[in-house]
């Protein structure tokens, strides 16, 4: 999105200004990012990986990061690719020449960064997955539920997660995280 990404004056992010947490959990809105929903068959993964500069993971619940891009396995033919800076993901996928579907979802999703010793407990206020390091190690990712909304959860560190959520659900997700963070500090 190099063509208009610089024009942040006109951008209104859904969670801008939100921050919170507790003594054990820090909650903050992630900065805007470029995202594509990438779909492809197994035989085209290699070409797309090389075009994107990040290896699309083929194992469930795993992600890969390289060149400021992260690729999250969401399903057997589905990845969420996130670029921290506007890096022309759509074009890169197109350049692969491989059969695929890339759809820009940069503005559909927003993200909340959850960190601190109580991060997993705060997320477990609404997420039914086992977030122990053994079962959900650093780099693990999954689409799942958080209370009444769907999220994509990525573990970025022992005590750090990125929670991707559709923009209109972000107020709810942040609110539930705030309550979870409070309870995780008890």
């Amino acid at each position: 999105m190099a063509d208009y990404g610089a024009d942040l004056v006109n951008r209104t992010s859904p969670l801008s200004g939100f921050h919170g947490g507790s003594s054990t959990v820090r909650l903050e809105a992630a900065p805007p990012a470029e995202r594509i929903s990438l779909r492809a068959r197994a035989e085209d993964v290699a070409a797309l990986s090389s075009a994107l500069g990040v290896d699309l993971p083929v194992r469930p619940k795993t992600s890969a990061s390289a060149n400021a891009r992260s690729a999250l396995w969401l399903g057997p033919d589905e990845w969420l690719v996130i670029a921290e800076e506007n890096g022309g993901l759509m074009q890169a996928a197109k350049n692969s020449g491989a059969l695929h579907s890339a759809t820009d979802v940069s503005h559909r999703n927003t993200a909340i960064l959850v960190s601190g010793p109580g991060a997993a407990a705060a997320i477990n206020a609404g997420c039914p997955q086992d977030l122990s390091l053994k079962v959900f190690p650093v780099g693990a990712c999954s689409r799942t539920v958080f209370g009444k909304v769907e999220i994509v959860l990525l573990r970025t560190g022992d005590e750090a997660f990125r929670m991707e959520v559709w923009r209109s659900f972000s107020d709810y997700a942040f609110g539930l995280l705030a309550e979870g963070a409070q309870d995780a500090a008890v």
Partner: protein
């Protein structure tokens, strides 16, 4: 100020584990008392000699404290901090005293000691089993006015608070390798064993401290230590391990499918001044790979005449109050037992200085060891005797003792009576896990037999009575291997179930089986005599075991009495199913975080704040908040909508269409896929063009509709209804993945990627022109149903020339974060030109003026595209699409189906009611033959009259006919018309 004497005259110096210096003040029915920290309400009141705590449910008989734990059926109290923080039906034996607690008794009026409802006791012959079923049969009218209010008043014990609960509640999902329910000797040992192997362990106990039976059993030593001390030390060891979570004051209330357990942790109910951040209770939803049930067993009462007076209590309860709380339950105590356990209570009481009137043992031959100990302590034992009655009004004052099989009865003065009929293994959680029980004939108890889940029972709940055996069993259950020694003084034997001497079938005495529901042995026999042969029917007829204690004490007795009457062995009579929750759970805990703003997500569009700033009223559409109309000062809804409707057609209007569902369909087979999903044909649609599409289900009925734009050969921008977006995507994925997996196409929800700004009306082009770059939007270059990727205000956009108003119109899609900026700029240009902002109500009116349908309003799941007048959208050339066969079903092609038509009221000022029924002859006899109903009805400012759409049988053939909409007070005459009320030739859309 803090001396042991003011914490109660029944407090025994040197007894118990509480610290005399740490006191807490509370009130009971307005009177102030001093308790010690660690007291329950029950132990604190007993310390002051207070035994009368409540009135019974049906007969309002005085009731006291029966147990010292969660099985308590009698001592239900109301606990409050303030008016809003009040909870009824709390068990006094569980509620810990906190400083400032206000406790009130329940089910009495005007006072506990003088209760008008006690008159029911005199009329008890009329309140026998099945009373409600028999009495409230007729007349029918009496139900509403008399019976139901009576039953409602009588039902339930406490009174619910009326104010909103100011506390908050938390929820936590958790996983573990092993969950151990119960932290007595067995549970602690199993947890130690499991933890030592490195597994993640949850150890859960409902009491404030671990220890289970060690609370009262001071004679047991573990690992050479006093049992209770060993338990606390073990818990401390476990808590220090990183793989162990120890939860006290936490009840495992449900054991569900696939290792899923519900736990409630009571976080603040015992705290005088809880921190604001603390939840009152926390719901734990735990998935355990393996469950160790160490839930112990529950002592039963004896079923004999007038066995319910305050002062009569279980042996283990009296022993707990003495050995843990340091409270004597009386000064002159009688014992009535069928089991050895009561002897140890008598011994402990005697040693503490309490006088024991006698041990009455209904067994002929109690063990020699117990008798010797009793002799040594100077306690007289009457074996082969029974207590056949009790005396006293608000508290027991005497017991009547007689030799079994007849003989002189004598009255012995007592101020408390300790009873034990033996122990019932707590198999509730095992049973909830769908395990199958077996009946242990020798010991008259149900025990776990066949497991349905990865679960193991250890200790008391498994019928393992021997301590050494119990410890070995627990170690094995945890998967570890180590040695642990345990010793206790007496090996317990004995026990009985059913009615005791003097309360048999030939008697009419009140021998209570279920205290909370006032069910007597006689009631159960009556149920059998009246033909109830299944234990489930007996349960419902008598309500035995149906109170909030779920018959923890009464089930076995009730079963035995029924079995005796039926002359069938107990296993053949069967056992009622144990259901979750094990003990009552508050609504607050189950609701958890889902209240207030978090009750349900409120979805707001990117432009929500701007709309609110312009004064919009919002309506809920699914979870979305949509701008409904924009009233100006002094305008009501109708005036605002009329102005908006007029302005859009005269000038232009700006509308937020962001909630419209959007799905990106991408891949070389995209058109082929859409051909299968929609009734329309898509192959001929060129990139840069869009088309209105109809989707049917396989049965041929309209499922959704929307405009589909083709951006490239292999890329479509599909729109759905706002409410239909998730289900349409699910429906498409279903067909794509399971029926047409060979197609190379993928679907992505883009609803929230795009902010959609619709500009509609004659000046629409003029308004947007300066913002659009990269596409010629002249009428010639960009006609109706064009679509283009371009840029708007420098932002990459998708521009649709499309209209849901019948006017010249555009829908600008920009990435959502840019929505507000673009919206603002467009509105700043449009407003001075005389345009308006309009909401969903105006959108509805304008589309109805043009006869455009709304799926779900003008259709209802039984309407075909033909019925809706959209037959033109069904391709007759395609070999297949979802619905192709359904549409040919005989009922779908018959004559006379309901069809969508227009209706005009004869009186143009009358607006029909949506849902109004339509008839041909308003004078026909009732029930009238209905021809259909009104689906949409509005005042149309642009038509200067009311308009309506309706589904009418054979509707299109009736155009021109007069039909009628009969209402309660009048009948409205209508004319059937076509569906287009405004701009019939449709010229404006191409303007």
């Amino acid at each position: 100020m803090s001396t042991s004497s003011n914490s109660g005259t029944f407090r025994i110096k040197g007894a118990g584990r509480l610290t005399p210096a740490r006191t807490a003040r509370f009130t009971f029915d307005g009177k102030s008392y001093t308790a010690l920290e660690g007291d329950t309400v029950a132990s604190a009141l007993l310390a002051h000699g207070v035994h009368l705590l409540g009135r019974s449910f049906k007969y309002h008989r005085p009731r006291g404290i029966l147990s010292a734990g969660p099985e308590e059926p009698n001592a239900l109290i109301d606990v409050s901090r303030d008016a809003a923080r009040r909870q009824p039906n709390v068990r006094a034996t569980v509620q810990e005293v906190f400083d400032g607690a206000k406790i009130a008794s329940q089910n009495r009026w005007p006072s506990l000691k003088f209760d008008v409802g006690a008159i029911n006791n005199l009329f008890s012959p009329f309140f026998a089993a099945g009373f409600y079923y028999k009495t409230f049969m007729w007349p029918r009218e009496a139900w509403v006015k008399i019976y139901e209010p009576f039953i409602r008043r009588a039902a339930g014990l406490g009174v619910a608070p009326t104010e909103e609960d100011p506390d908050h509640y938390a929820n936590r999902y958790a996983h573990c390798d092993v969950l151990v329910a119960g932290a007595g000797v067995a549970g602690l040992t199993a947890a130690l064993s499991a933890a030592a192997t490195g597994q993640s362990v949850f150890l859960v106990d409902e009491q404030p401290e671990v220890g289970g039976a060690l609370h009262y059993d001071t004679a047991t030593t573990i690992d050479g230590q006093n049992g209770y001390d060993w338990a606390q030390a073990t818990a401390a060891r476990l808590k220090a391990m990183p793989n162990v979570t120890v939860l006290t004051r936490t009840t495992v209330f449900g054991y569900y499918n696939h290792g899923f357990l519900g736990l409630v942790e009571r976080v603040t109910d015992h705290v005088a001044k809880p921190g604001k951040d603390l939840p009152r209770e926390r719901l734990w939803q735990v998935r355990a790979k393996k469950v160790v049930l160490a839930t112990g067993s529950i002592e039963r009462h004896m079923v004999f005449a007038n066995n319910d007076r305050p002062g009569i209590m279980l042996a283990s309860a009296a022993r707990t109050f003495l050995n843990h709380h340091g409270v004597a339950v009386g000064r002159q105590v009688g014992i009535y037992t069928a089991h050895d356990s009561a002897y140890e209570t008598a011994f402990d009481l005697k040693r503490a200085g309490v006088s024991i009137a006698a041990i009455v043992d209904c067994r002929a031959d109690p063990g020699e060891a117990l008798l010797a100990e009793a002799r040594g302590l100077g306690i007289s034992v009457l074996s082969g005797h029974s207590v056949t009655d009790t005396g006293g009004r608000l508290r027991i004052s005497s017991m009547t003792v007689a030799r079994n099989g007849g003989g002189d009865a004598r009255k012995i003065a007592v101020d408390a009576l300790i009873v034990s009929a033996g122990w019932t293994p707590s198999v509730h959680l095992f049973s909830q896990s769908r395990g199958k029980l077996r009946f242990d004939d020798v010991n008259q108890r149900f025990l776990p037999n066949i497991y349905a889940q990865d679960c193991v029972s250890v200790g008391g709940c498994n019928g393992t009575d021997d301590l050494a055996e119990l410890i070995d069993e627990a170690i094995a259950a945890g998967g570890g291997s180590f040695a642990l020694s345990g010793e206790n003084r007496f090996e317990w034997t004995g026990g009985m179930i059913g009615a005791a001497e003097g309360a048999g079938p030939d008697t009419t005495v009140k021998a209570f089986v279920d205290f909370q529901h006032d069910v007597t042995a006689k009631d159960i026999r009556l149920a059998v005599r009246e033909g109830m042969h299944s234990i489930e029917h007996i349960k419902r007829f008598t309500t035995n075991g149906m109170a909030s204690d779920q018959g923890k004490l009464s089930n076995m007795h009730g079963l035995a009495i029924a079995a005796e009457m039926l002359d069938r062995p107990i296993p053949q009579v069967g056992l009622t199913t144990f259901r979750a929750p094990y003990t009552p759970v508050t609504y607050g805990t189950l609701v958890g975080h889902s209240r207030g703003e978090l009750f349900d997500p409120a979805r707001k569009t990117p432009m929500h704040a701007l709309e609110a700033g312009e004064g919009a009223e919002f309506e809920d559409v699914g979870n979305w908040k949509r701008a409904w109309y924009y009233p100006k000062r002094g305008e009501d809804m109708l005036a605002a909508v009329n102005r908006e409707c007029r302005t859009v057609r005269e000038v232009a209007g700006v509308f937020n269409g962001s909630t419209l569902g959007k799905i990106e369909v991408v891949g070389p087979d995209a058109a082929q896929f859409l051909n299968l999903i929609y009734t329309n044909a898509w192959g001929s649609l060129k990139p840069g063009k869009s088309r209105y599409g109809i989707m049917t289900r396989e049965d041929g009925f309209v499922y959704d509709d929307g405009v589909v734009g083709r951006l490239a050969e292999d890329r479509f921008h599909v729109t759905t209804t706002t409410g239909g977006a998730p289900r349409v995507l699910h429906h498409m994925e279903d067909y794509l993945q399971t029926e047409f997996p060979h197609l190379r196409v993928w679907l992505t929800s883009t609803t929230e990627q795009w902010a959609v700004i619709a500009v509609q009306g004659p000046k629409a082009r003029e308004i947007i022109q300066p913002f659009v770059e990269g596409v010629d939007i002249s009428n010639e270059a960009f006609p109706h149903m064009s679509v283009a990727e371009c840029s708007v205000m420098g932002v990459p956009a998708r521009l649709f020339r499309v209209s849901f108003t019948g006017e010249l119109g555009y829908e600008i899609n920009v990435p959502a974060d840019y929505g507000p900026a673009v919206w603002k700029a467009i509105w700043e240009r449009a407003e001075p030109m005389g345009a308006c902002l309009y909401g969903t109500e105006t959108m509805h009116v304008l589309r109805a003026e043009k006869g455009y349908i709304i799926v779900g309003q003008d259709t209802d799941g039984t309407v075909t595209p033909y019925d809706a007048g959209l037959g033109w959208a069904v391709s007759s050339k395609k070999p297949d699409f979802v619905g192709i066969r359904g549409l040919k079903r005989p009922d779908l092609v018959r004559e006379g189906r309901k069809q969508l038509v227009g209706l005009l009221t004869k009186d143009p000022a009358l607006v029909l009611e949506e849902g109004g029924q339509i008839v041909a002859d308003p004078n026909q006899a009732k029930p009238m033959t209905m021809l259909g109903h009104v689906t949409s009805a509005y005042w149309s400012e642009n038509c200067g009259r009311s308009i309506a759409l309706a589904l009418v049988a054979g509707g299109r053939a009736r155009i021109g006919e007069t039909l009628y909409v009969p209402l309660k007070d009048r009948t409205i005459e209508v004319e059937v018309t076509d569906m287009v009320f405004f701009d019939k030739d449709g010229g404006r859309i191409h303007g």
